[in-house]
């Protein structure tokens, strides 16, 4: 009996299913279009331009130049150096700060969170120039330190690697602190109680339970900081004083000084490929989806 009614009914259900899929596709088409226009086409264009030589023909010269010239190698080394040092310093400062915050009563913790977020919401350019004011030869820090007798000669703490790192760390810290703080707040206090009950001193409980549970958050934050550093421009340009040349700055000078779009594009492609490669390697070790809060 059911065999007789099934066919007509099933066709209707299949039609509903198709219609539903079509509707879903229709609803997501603006998003797909947007990604196509602002991401896929420009990136494709970037790739295309990077393979066009000075004579307007297809050529690999933009990539060959990167391999043959030592200055390019130095730029990549500097970029990785700045990124790694910034990430390392962010971990050293950010993790203890996030831990401190996670242990505070919620009112104080929120206050601390605002001190983290407030600079985060301030313009990057403003913060970078503020550091210039603070760090320069006749700046606040040097003047105060000398008048307090901490050191005699003005220290060179800007227009070099030191200045760049100070600025970069300040700007990147929230990207590390926020995911780490989130991971710490998500830890059930009972885990630490259980560890203590089973015989772990506070120090042992921290290293065997608390730290491993925050490691995914720390890794997510560190990865975010590192990748953002790789393509960073404003801070090293202003605080580096021309001594710290990163990939992004070379891209700018390729366009502004040499009007060589091909060379600039090739650098952009290499940076993009490196970033994707790092994310891919990272995803082999950890669930990126979970780190960015995308799943459970």
């Amino acid at each position: 009996m059911s065999m007789q009614t099934a066919p007509s009914n099933a066709a209707g259900l299949r039609r509903d299913e198709r219609l539903e899929r079509l509707t879903l596709f229709g609803l997501s088409s603006p998003a797909i279009l947007l990604i196509l226009v602002v991401l896929v086409i420009p990136v494709g264009w970037l790739f295309y331009v990077s393979f066009i030589g000075a004579n307007g023909q297809f050529s690999l010269e933009n990539y060959e130049r990167m391999i043959s010239r030592r200055s390019y190698l130095r730029i990549f080394v500097t970029t990785f150096q700045v990124s790694l040092l910034t990430t390392g310093l962010c971990i050293l400062i950010g993790y203890p700060f996030a831990y401190f915050m996670s242990q505070l009563p919620s009112r104080l913790a929120n206050l601390c969170l605002i001190t983290v977020l407030l600079p985060f919401w301030t313009s990057l350019l403003v913060r970078t120039y503020a550091w210039l004011v603070l760090l320069q030869k006749q700046g606040l820090i040097n003047n105060w330190a000398i008048s307090l007798g901490l050191w005699d000669e003005p220290l060179k703490i800007v227009h070099n690697m030191t200045g760049t790192l100070i600025g970069m760390v300040h700007i990147m810290l929230p990207f590390l602190i926020l995911p780490v703080y989130g991971a710490m707040k998500a830890i059930d206090r009972d885990y630490l109680k259980a560890a203590a009950n089973l015989g772990a001193s506070p120090r042992v409980a921290f290293w065997t339970v608390f730290f491993p549970l925050t490691a995914p958050g720390l890794f997510a934050g560190a990865l975010m900081v590192f990748i953002l550093c790789l393509g960073f421009f404003v801070t090293p340009a202003v605080l580096g004083g021309g001594k710290v040349i990163m990939v992004s700055m070379q891209i700018v000078s390729n366009i502004e000084l040499f009007v060589n779009w091909g060379a600039a594009s090739a650098l952009g492609v290499v940076l993009l490929v490196l970033t994707v490669a790092i994310l891919w390697v990272a995803s082999r070790f950890l669930n990126l989806d979970r780190m960015t809060g995308g799943g459970h």
């Binding site: 109680k193 259980a194 009950n197 089973l198 015989g199 065997t208």
Partner: protein, 362 residues
């Protein structure tokens, strides 16, 4: 092979007080837990039972008082040096470790050799009937299995005292009933002094050697399950353990009357201005042939009859105005002849079931 019985330790709590602002979470509590005893702290939420357990575990520092395990004073000993096993309401299994990693954790902290750890972990898992589960991830376990792993982790280092904080509250009823029996057997097998916290009176009655009923940071009554049920110290205890109806009675000397009618009673008579008659619904019976001699009889009208399969629940209004609940067994012989709404009934209470208690709530 399972874990062997450890030598148990008695626990002695003396004059422990803990205040949070003006609130007394624990109000001068003293309690002796005998060696190897299964003692339950029973009370409503906020009664102080969990605070007391946290004082035993060392997570809550009381304002004053003394706590000894055996003859060792531990009130100032930090939790990690107390050597007591504990299970948590949330299980608190470390999510970054396997089952074996969790159970072996206390042994690794004690720097036991690898081979010994592996062997003892497996033994502990076998004790809770989870032999071979060592390699599982914690999030692959069901609620009941997590609870067993938590128990295995708490007993693997052979502590002489075991604390359990509402360990079964997250399980469904059937599993909870089964685990109650299992934990009870485990206790008989291991013999550790066990302090168990629950708000479930049936669970407390099922499992405990003795029950301490806690309210407002004080122990209302500490006694065996039977004594607690039969002779509650006051109305709070009577109300919390079992469903009861309470009738205010008047008293002259040893003579007690309800609604002008003398009550025949056998038990002790508490010395209180607020004397009440406690009627357990399963102790009062329907008397189909009218008032019975030598017992207390109440004329009433049935206001509600609920058929519940294994029993029926009758609510009746006494002629004096009070409501009384009665629970009776359903048998083939009476299934069709249960009282109906509005029927006149006679309720009878035997003298030994006529329990008079102190009507105070605290």
């Amino acid at each position: 092979m399972t874990i062997k019985a450890a030598e148990a330790l008695p626990i002695s709590v003396r004059n422990v007080t803990k205040t949070y602002g003006a609130v007394h979470a624990l109000d001068d509590v003293s309690l002796e837990v005998k060696s190897g005893e299964f003692l339950t702290l029973l009370g409503p939420s906020g009664s102080g039972k969990t605070t007391l357990l946290m004082v035993l575990a060392g997570f809550t520092r009381p304002d004053c008082g003394s706590l000894t395990f055996g003859d060792r004073e531990v009130i100032r000993t930090p939790p990690h040096l107390r050597e007591v096993g504990m299970t948590f309401q949330s299980y608190a299994l470390f999510p970054h470790m396997t089952v074996a990693g969790n159970v072996g954790y206390p042994l690794r902290l004690r720097k036991r050799p690898k081979a010994e750890i592996a062997e003892r972990v497996e033994r502990a898992l076998e004790t809770v009937q989870l032999g071979g589960y060592g390699d599982r991830r914690v999030d692959q376990l069901s609620g009941g299995q997590k609870q067993r792993v938590a128990v295995a982790r708490a007993i693997v280092f052979e502590p002489r005292i075991l604390l359990m904080d509402e360990p079964l509250s997250a399980l469904d009823k059937k599993l909870r009933d089964q685990m109650q029996i299992e934990l009870r057997h485990l206790h008989e097998q291991l013999g550790m002094t066990t302090v168990y916290v629950t708000h479930d009176q049936r669970e407390a009655l099922t499992m405990s050697d003795r029950i301490a009923v806690v309210n407002h940071g004080r122990i209302m009554q500490l006694s065996t399950p039977r004594d607690l049920y039969e002779h509650p110290a006051n109305r709070f205890v009577a109300d919390f353990i079992g469903d009861s109806t309470f009738l205010t009675v008047s008293r002259v000397g040893r003579d007690v009357t309800f609604g002008g009618v003398p009550l025949i009673h056998a038990g002790p008579l508490p010395d209180t201005p607020d004397l009440q008659l406690m009627i357990r619904p399963e102790r009062i019976v329907l008397s189909p042939d009218g008032p019975r001699d030598g017992a207390n009889n109440f004329a009433a009208t049935a206001t509600d009859v609920v058929y519940q399969g294994d029993s029926y629940l009758l609510h009746a209004r006494l002629d004096t105005g009070e409501m009384v609940a009665l629970r009776g067994a359903v048998r083939g012989s009476n299934a069709t002849s249960l009282p109906r709404l509005g029927d006149r009934v006679t309720l009878t209470l035997a003298p030994e079931d006529t329990v008079l208690i102190d009507g105070s709530q605290t």
